[in-house]
Symmetry: C2
Subunit: 464 residues, 2 copies
Amino acid sequence: MTSDELQRVLALLETRRADSLNDLLEFASIPSVSAQPQHASDMQRAADWLTERLRRCGPLTAEQWPTAGHPAVYAEWLGAAGAPTILVYGHYDVQPPDPLERWHTPPFTPTVVGERVYGRGVSDDKGPLLIAVQVADAYFSALGSLPVNVKFLFEGEEEIGSAHLPALVEQQAERLKADFVLSADGGMWSADIPSLTISARGIAALEFTVRGPSKDLHSGRHGGSLHNPLHAISALVASLHDAAGRVAVPGFYDGVQERSPAEREATRQLPFSDEAYLAQTGAPAGYGEEGFSTLERQWDRPTLELNGLWGGYTGEGSKTVLPSEAHAKLTCRLVPGQNPERIPGLIEAHLRRHLPPGVTLEVRHSDHQASAYHLPAGHPGRRVAREVLAQVYGRPPLEVGMGGSIPVLETFSRVLGIDTVFFSFAVGDEDIHAPNEFFRIPRIAQGQHAWALYWTLLAQEPHA
Amino acid sequence: MTSDELQRVLALLETRRADSLNDLLEFASIPSVSAQPQHASDMQRAADWLTERLRRCGPLTAEQWPTAGHPAVYAEWLGAAGAPTILVYGHYDVQPPDPLERWHTPPFTPTVVGERVYGRGVSDDKGPLLIAVQVADAYFSALGSLPVNVKFLFEGEEEIGSAHLPALVEQQAERLKADFVLSADGGMWSADIPSLTISARGIAALEFTVRGPSKDLHSGRHGGSLHNPLHAISALVASLHDAAGRVAVPGFYDGVQERSPAEREATRQLPFSDEAYLAQTGAPAGYGEEGFSTLERQWDRPTLELNGLWGGYTGEGSKTVLPSEAHAKLTCRLVPGQNPERIPGLIEAHLRRHLPPGVTLEVRHSDHQASAYHLPAGHPGRRVAREVLAQVYGRPPLEVGMGGSIPVLETFSRVLGIDTVFFSFAVGDEDIHAPNEFFRIPRIAQGQHAWALYWTLLAQEPHA
């Protein structure tokens, strides 16, 4: 493939700018919330829309792969004989939009405001995912072919832990064979400076309920003589961390691989400002495990975070109730050396050891788990990504970690034996998983340029 | 008034049993939830229904007294020259029915099951309140007059702290003049053994919010580097009690009047079983301040109870959020010697002292407060109540405390200078403030007998 051919692809993408944005406005108007059963038919609508969009690209085969949960959408084009094969990964499901009252525009009416489009899922992951599809479309339109073999796998359960994807990948392992995964999920940490994510934390999840009396009681009549589940759950939650911000669960840090002094120094050299970070998040001060910087706390250290805590009367006014139950949801972020299957058991044992008298404890384990991930230095997909980003942005990318988790990475590694290169054009400040999620519209063109260049450069790499 | 005249009243009440129950079915079908703005028109409907019901009793004057909140319903008959005047107190508002899914019958479709009627407010306080009205009705029908002068004051804000009643009582002090209050609110502690409540705990309330980042964040990306408000609020709540079950807020116990050894012994002699209490409430074990029995913890010791605690994602499935805010509602029950205006400030100071770094605290004080109450020994209203209950039940009543609070008691004492005698026929196990609240139908007839006898016996007392 010549530089001239690439220019024709880029020129075509340039003429399709409005179409590209319209794709996203249409796709993001489908409320594909995988966690909420009432959106089951919207999930199917989103899968259908995406399948149809892939078919419109050209000589791709596109199909849906059912799972025990939401279907995955798969497409492939394998006409580049002798060239590498990449597996493009993304997800069409989105987070619940709650709390709804905090949105300034309706979450499922994608709204353009200046250079941003607002809506649930525009940044995580519908916008970044469409970039890959639109690049394939442009190659087919301009040249009739792609420079590399491409397989697309877009799942519908990323936001609920990709529970059924491992079985699907095992079942379809033959068709999914590729040299590596190029992930449209993930994100860069700044809109101005390109970055390449070389690690992701793992995850483990747990829910628990504390029960006292078998029904809600009057807190005047009974208060003081029975243990209040809200007091008991607070004591349990408080016991999970020590005063130095460390997780207090025995065994939690077993096997954690500490970063080398050189790696820690590289992280310290990154252009990161605690002041700017606090201004961006609105938190009054940083807080975390003593002895580590903010970026180390986000990338290199494991966490235990409550995601939800509730019980008793939460409505308007007062209700003098001694509630029967209190509930908590938590997730841990894990680093290399921690086993996501072992962590929930350690937490449960800790909770049972600290359970106060007068209440009972029910712990529900979750299949939402994944190991931490690290992309090896010298991987060809990492080398190409560095080169592409250097050309598109005029400077080499920073190599950074990711605090979040993509459970499917572990599946690709374990089942297919391949690594994953993150190549998303989302930015970390785009309020994913929060109200007013947005995506930067200029990143669509930048992302398309980068993905088009990536495929061309990869085809020129000595095949591994 | 002769014993024969009383018999005619009782006989008439006997013929009206079905009507009496129908009154309650009708009244309790009006969802008069004072705490919830969406029920404002239902509150007015309930006030109108009650006003109309009073007018149907006979030569009573009945009217509504507006307040800055929900109106009070007032009625009087002052034709018993030279006889004592009693002020009958009750409330027509009810608690919110949440959690709705725990009700076996619709909360506002009162449902008769065997000897019970189920519905929000049937026990607290619509059933007990109607007994007094129905007794007046029967006296007028049978005899054309009452043996004592009677004033009825039924408020619509008891469940939200009777915030506007003090101003109303002050404004109407002249019309409300009476020898004492006979309260249709309150309750006996058993359906089989009569009891007379001689004390009530006071109340003070507080809400607080802990804030971290200015918006919900992704717990993978940000977790570990900012303080999670759910962790911070749990630590705050856990700090409010010590390991011995005592409230850990400095100054909280200042001025608390300890019971004398004789009083503690009298409480110990009451027929109360911890085993039966746990079986009734379904709690796995008792819990509370060390060194005190269950009844002392309920009647004689102050408490600090969380009524609601919430933050983050509480819906189905998982949402990996580091929430911006966490919220708590709490109420204290107070005993003689504690000042309800001082307690919230002590709690706020404690919370501020224990506030962890990385979050801010907002405390909202409430006007839901009342002092503890104690009915003097030798009060004529207490003497008559003992005699009535001994006649109706064939044994003298137990003298017991009340864990809950009726803020208006303090108002009657302070503004009108009069004491309050509790004379409700609700029973403490009727799930008031909880799902499946019920009232025992035979208690309607017993209560009518007792109220009718009370008025006759009071008229025969040497006038204080």
